[in-house]
Each structure stands twice: as C-alpha cells, then as structure tokens.
Symmetry: C2
C-alpha cells in the first residue's frame, strides 16, 4: 500500500496544479487584461512543466511497479486508479523530451500561420508547416504506440478517448456513412413540406440573454455554488473540480445560438460537477474522455433541450425574457427553428443530421494521413470529395474546406471522431434513460431535469474513469455502442414530426 | 556566470508560480464560487510548497556560493539581484520544516478563533491560541535571526521591510510620539473653529461610483491594459507583474471611502506597474518592501488626492458623476470632509493625524512581546493605556482594542510599523518631488499626475529592489528618513489651512 499511497499523494498534487491551470486558462480567455498575455503564457508554461515533472519523476516507474506488485490489497476503485495512473504516465513518458519540444514548436508555428492561411484560403502557404506537424504527430504516434502497445492512430486517439480504437469506431462510422445521404435527402424533402420558420425580431439585449441563460442553467441542474457563467470569444467549459466555469458569447441579433451554447456547456458542467467526490483529485475520478464528455453536452443540448417537450417549457420563458408575443414566439415555431436542417460547409454551424458528415470525412482523412496512405498535398481535393459525397455540396474554397478547423494545425490529431461518437453515445444514453425513467419527457415539459440527472449521476458521472467508455455505455444501456439508435432518433425527430 | 544564470532561471520560475498564486488569490477574494473554497486552499497550498521547494532546493546553497565567488563578472543590477536571492533564500531556508508547519497551524487555528473572539470581545478565549502563535513567532525570529545575523524582531521585520531595523525606527517613532498629543490638541482646536462639513445626501449607485473610480484611476496613471478594478470584501492590490488587480468595496450611502480606497490601491498599483521591466521576474525587480509600498499608496491617496489642489479637480467630476449641485458639493466642503480629524478606536478608519498613534502602540507592544518583556495576558491593559496616552480616549472593550486587527492572530508580527513608516516616507518623497518639479500642485488641479509620476518612476518605482529602502529615500530626497517632514505636512494641512 505504501507505493500506492505515495502515488495518490503525487497525483493529488498534479490535480492541484492542473486545476490551477484550469483557472488561469479561464481567466486568460475571459477577463485578463490584454497586456498580461506574455506573462500568462509564462505562468502556464511553467506550471505545465511542473505538472509534467511531477508525472514523470524518476521514481515513478518503480512506484507504479511496486504498487502493481502489491495490487492484491487494493479495492476495485484503487485498482482502476492505479491503471489510470499507469496510462497517464505512459502518455507522458513515452515521448522523448526533444520530440515533445519539436512537436510543440511545429504546432505553435503552424497554428500561428493557419489564421492567415485560412483568411486567404491558401492551403499551399500552410503546407510545409502542416507537413511538419503531421510528421511530428506520426513520430508521437509511433512512440506512444510502442509504449502502450497500440497502433499509431489508436495511440493518438487514446489520449482523447481512452480505450477507444479504430477497430471499434470503423463499423459504427461505416453504418452511419452508409445511411447518411439517403436520410439527408428524406429529411430535406420532409422539411420542405413544412411551413418555413418565422423570423424572430431582435435586438435581444445581452443582459436579458444572460438572465435567461442563468435561469435555464439552474433548471438543468448546474450548481452555481461550484461554478460560474461568463463571456469569452470561444465558448468552453473550463476551471476544474469544484469550480466549473462555462462561457458563452452573445449576439444581440440572435439569442438562440448563445442559449443553446450555454445548455451545451451546462451538459459538460453537469458531468464535471457529478464526478465522484472522494476521487475528484485522482485519475479514477476524472471524466472518462472526450467522447463521454461530448455525449453529456449533446445529451443536454441536442437530446433534451431541442426536444419538443423542453421547447414547451422554453417558449413562455423566452417570451417573458424578451417581452414578446405573437405566433413566431410559440413553441411550434421555436422548435422548428431549433431543428432546422441545412447542409453547409462549416462543421461548428452544422445541425445534428449533417454534423456527422463533417466528422466522418475528417476521421477518414486523418487516419489515412497518419498511416501515410494519403499525401498531405492531396488533402484539399480529398476533403472536398468527401463532403460532396456525403452532403451533396461543393466546397467553394479551402477556407470553407480543410482549412476551417484549428485541430490539425494545432496538433490535435485523433480528436475529431469524439464529436460524433459523443452524439451517438448521447442518443443511446438518452434512450436508456427514458426506458428506465419513462417520466423524463413529461418532466422536461415542466423544465424538471431531476429524473434525467438522477439517472445520469450513477450511470455516467459518478463512474468517473473507474471503467472504460465502452463499459459505461454497455452497463448503462444494455449493449455496445451502435449507430442505429442515433439514426432512429434522427428519423423520429426529422421525419415523423408533423 | 553559469551559477548566476541558473539562479536567474530558477527565480524566473518562482516568479511564474508566485504570480500565478497572485491571480488565484485575487480570484478567491473576488469572483470564486463559494463551494470552491476547499479546492482553492489546496491549490494555493500546493503551489506555495512548490515555490518553497524551488527556493530551497538542495543545490541552492552551492549555486549561491558559486555565483557569489564569481561575482566580479556581474554588473551592479546582477550583484543586487544575487544579494536579494541570498536574502530570500535565507528567509525561506532558515526555518526548519517542522517549525514552518507548527507556526502555520498555530496561525490558522488562532485566525479562525479570532473572528469569534473579536465578535465577543473575549480576549481570554483567544489567549492560549495567541500564546501559541507568539511562541512560534519567537522561534521563527530566533531561527531567522541566527541565519541573517539579526536580532529576533529585526529578523521578522526584515521579511516585510528588508534592511529596516529597530535601531532605525525607534528614533523616528520617538519623535513622532513626542509631538503627537500636543499636535492633536491643536488640530482639534483649530478644526472646531471651522464650519462643520455639510453632509452629502445619497444614495450613490454602485455603477456610478465604479465609473468615477475608473475615471480617476486613469487620471492618476493606472495602465488598464495591465490591470483591473473589481470588488471584494477587503480592498487590496493583488495579481502581479503585468497584471495588477486592485479591488474596492462600495457603500451606496457613502462614496468617499470607496473612492479614496481606489486611489490608495492605485498608488500601490502604480508602483507595481512601474517596476523595472527587464527585472520584473527577478528578485532585484521586486517592489522594495511594505514600507515603500505603503509610501506609494499613501503618497497618491493622502499627499496628492487629499490635497486642496486635487480636490479642485475632483469636485466637478463628483458633481457630474452623481448629478448633484449645491454648496455641500463644492471643493471647500469636500476637502473639509476628506481632511476631517477625529480620534477613534479603529486603526483602519483613522485619519492621517491619529493613525500613527495606533501603529506606535502596536509597535511598542509587539517588540516587547517578542522580546519577552511583556506577558501576553497583560496585552489588553497595555494596549488601552497606550491609546489613552497618545489619543486621550478610553478603549471601551477589546473588540475595539487589541482584538481589532487580524495581524497578530494571523502571525504577521513585524508588519505594523510599515504603515506609519510608509506615511512618513510618503510625506518626505512628496516634498522632494515638489522641490524637483514645482509644477506638481498646479497640475493636480487639472488632474494631471504626469509630472509626479515622471518623478516617481526613476526615483522609486524603477529602482525595484536594486538598493535598500533607506538608500532609495536618501537618493530621492537628499537625507535619511525623518518624522519632521511628516509633522510639517500635518501642521500645514491641519493648522495653517483656513
């Protein structure tokens, strides 16, 4: 037990440093004066190095080995905690310091250049820098793969979605891709037979939007004693542990995108606030990767809050908040606006029917690039072909094509699939929740998320990282992840609705 | 140079951790959700331990010795930097870990109990806990004194006011004490012959107060690109380096105390924002202790902003901010309110004539307690006698007597004298500034602090910790610190004014 106890103390210390970084990063993106940027970068770099040093201290291999050898004395949570310690240590120590440095420099240089290249739609200008990023990511994938016993892309994926593998993703994504073009055609045809949504006349003052957002966060179950809502250019859920800070941005001409954004981030926050208290500062108490995190934000935003039931609750609140009346402010019209399907070029603006197409294309391309089966120079053409095949639209330029996202220039390879895996997981979890608690839809009409949250807490949030994503899904829903429930959800919402 | 360069890197890292702590502490006191308190305490404790470990690493003695041995290659700033490194290292390493721990526990326990003991005016209930604090502070004073070659109280003082010693303070405080009762009598007599200040009718909405405060901060010279103004229960100047965060609290019935508080903290902030840029993250670039810091806040608040000249500028702004007119809103009346003298029991509410009495009593008592010349049980009686002798008022209970301040329960021994040393230094610096730039008073009438700031930058702020407090004062004013200029300032403002 001695070695295990020492490791628990070490990881509690790492948790303190990392949650401090969470607050510093939140501050950076919300309220920090501009002149402090250089200094903040220095603080964040130093604390990141300190966390990395704590994780990769020279005594760590022996501690991990001693704790594992004495593993019989550990209970199930402690064993899971130790397994997560080993995994995190492997990710941190697998990559030699000079490669960490080279990859970090390549990412920084490429990310900086990307902003201009995107604005100019100039893929060629970015190509050499992006090539360097890709080469270093391949090196990282090799090094981590060797340490973790994984294929290269799986080793990258494991950082964002622990335990997930291409072999698990491929069949699910194949099913999804196979059904997508036909489904989209039917949805658009069905939609064209419905009345077009009526416009909502602004302006919607920020102060009123903020008050409405706070009201809805509380309804969903956000604990305001352990978190905040603020404003930033790019919305996120940050902070950490007992201090979960979500952000949004406001558009006075359109309250809907900010409101749905807040509900999305509230889903992330509920997960963070529901993690097992006694394991909060330990690896086993962390949220179980980005797929599960995205499943929680999408379960709240897409499954619950864009449901017809919730919009019944929402409509009078919106009328009251902005002091409006008329047919366009009724639940029917609001719901039609919130479930409008429209194939477009930009992933982050996509509806839930077309969103998977954006991810399927990126997943297919980044796996091929990491494997060396696609030359980076051929990326724009392959990207545009993929979008055309799945969505039937022609990408007009790289700005609205393969240059639109920060992920590849910033070195975030292996991240994209978690968005759509999260959406699929959300549908499967929400269906299981309604099966277990049939009152959930009726309660959403009253704005009461308690039954849903009561189900999510033990089935997802409180499991932390004590088991893998696949096991959480299986235990909670009765079977392995499948695209079919997500597809059924889309058909019900977008084809059966009057 | 090798050892010195290694030390510079080490101290830059310490600066990153400490300035990160500055932001975490600011956040804690301003906007943090209440439920995050436990977690934040853990983060702060962990980062403090990390900073302490960086400062006292096993290689530090050799590095300091090697750098000193090779000192010929260093320029004046580098030599000063190395001297400050040695001093900071001595303070951190002089006290054995178990004593650090015991003192920290004693302070925490006593500080917690103090809040209730103060509310109940119950010194006896606090006595055993305060005795433990005092004993541990004596141990700390002994340990630091041995390491620094200083008498025990001087060793405590050196942490807050580097280089200052009882032998330097005693004659200055003796002069001050000798003149105080007579001066106070004359001031009160003079004041009674003047018209009583007219009351200002509130309410003064927080939003209007905030806008006025921001206007005045900018006028004084606060760089809003490198700092912020926010709200907290107890006003302070925090953050660090390029991110100086000051706070205030608002009272809608009285705008004056918040406004003067903001100007006070702005004085602190100007010092922080004016430190030498190339030494910002090094010991030599730090502010030169609490006496010099308090001199800067009091120079702005007391010397400049309560001057008749500045109130000429202030009066129309105040009328405009709150949309008021009438004789009570004229500069005459405002100035009379801002320079009202009234002996009272509470140090933090004291005017600049009576404030020194509160410090003189505390200084006399804490030096006697550290020396063992006074039993702690006799503190209340000795405290009350001191106040009576200097201010002629009778302390009604310990709540308004020796229990009013957090310093002693929190283990901040050796801190009190810096308040009044700061006030004396402020008067001496302001007189020197006006001698060098006779246009300063006329410019204050226009709200123009540029000439004053132009003098403070090279003479105080940009010197950082490259020389001692005494040397800064001597170089800037032409002679050693003396009470006489402060006394002259008080006579001019409170006896000569019509």
């Amino acid at each position: 037990m001695q070695a295990y106890r020492t490791l628990e103390k070490r990881f509690a210390r790492i948790s303190d440093v990392e949650s401090a970084l969470g607050i510093l990063n939140w501050d950076n993106d919300t309220i920090m004066p501009a002149g402090a940027a250089g200094q903040r970068a220095g603080q964040v770099a130093t604390l990141s190095v300190i966390a990395h040093e704590l994780m990769t201290g020279p005594d760590m291999p022996d501690l991990l080995q001693d704790a594992s050898a004495a593993g019989d004395g550990l209970d199930a949570w402690q064993r899971a905690n130790l397994a997560e310690m080993r995994r995190l240590h492997a990710h941190s120590s697998a990559v030699p310091a000079d490669l960490v440095d080279a990859a970090s420099r390549a990412n920084s240089a490429c990310e900086r250049a990307w902003r201009e290249a995107r604005a100019n739609s100039d893929f060629k200008a970015l190509l050499p820098l992006l090539q360097e990023v890709l080469l270093r990511q391949r090196d990282v994938a090799q090094a981590k793969g060797a340490a973790l016993g994984l294929a290269p892309y799986d080793a990258l994926l494991d950082l964002y979605d622990p335990g997930n593998r291409m072999a698990l993703i491929d069949p699910v994504f194949r099913d999804l891709a196979a059904g997508l073009p036909a489904l989209l055609g039917q949805v658009l045809e069905h939609q064209s037979a419905l009345p077009a949504p009526l416009p909502l006349q602004g302006p919607f003052p920020v102060e009123l939007q903020t008050r409405l957002a706070a009201r809805l966060m509380r309804a969903v179950g956000f604990d305001t004693g352990r978190g905040r809502l603020d404003t930033s250019t790019h919305p996120f859920c940050g902070g950490g542990n007992d201090d979960v800070r979500i952000t949004t941005r406001y558009d006075e001409a359109d309250f809907g995108s900010s409101l749905m954004g807040v509900l999305h981030e509230t889903g992330h926050a509920l997960y963070e606030q529901g993690r097992p208290r006694e394991w909060l500062a330990q690896p086993a108490g962390r949220a179980r990767g980005m797929t599960m995190h995205e499943s929680q934000s999408l379960l709240i935003e897409m499954q619950a809050c864009r449901s017809r039931e919730f919009v019944e609750f929402l409509a009078p609140l919106v009328r009251e908040a902005f002091d409006r009346e008329g047919p366009e402010w009724q639940a029917d019209n609001l719901h039609r606006r919130l479930t409008r399907v429209s194939p477009g070029f930009i992933r982050v603006d996509a509806d839930e029917v077309t969103y998977p197409a954006h991810v399927l294309v990126r997943y297919r391309l980044e796996t091929a690039l990491i494997a060396g089966d696609l030359a980076l120079a051929d990326l724009p053409g392959a990207f545009d072909a993929g979008i055309r095949d799945l969505l039937g639209i022609v990408v007009p330029d790289d700005r609205r094509g393969c240059l639109q996202d920060i992920h590849w220039p910033a070195g975030l390879w292996g991240y994209f699939p978690t968005y759509t895996l999260g959406a699929i997981t959300a549908a499967q979890l929400f269906e299981a929740a309604r099966r277990a608690k049939p009152e959930i839809p009726a309660r959403l009409v009253q704005g009461d998320f308690r039954p849903l949250l009561d189900w999510l807490r033990p089935n997802v949030h409180e499991r932390g990282s004590s088991v893998g994503t696949a096991e959480i899904v299986r235990d909670a829903t009765g079977f392995d992840l499948t695209a079919s429930i997500y597809q059924r959800h889309l058909r019900r919402r977008y084809l059966d609705a009057a």
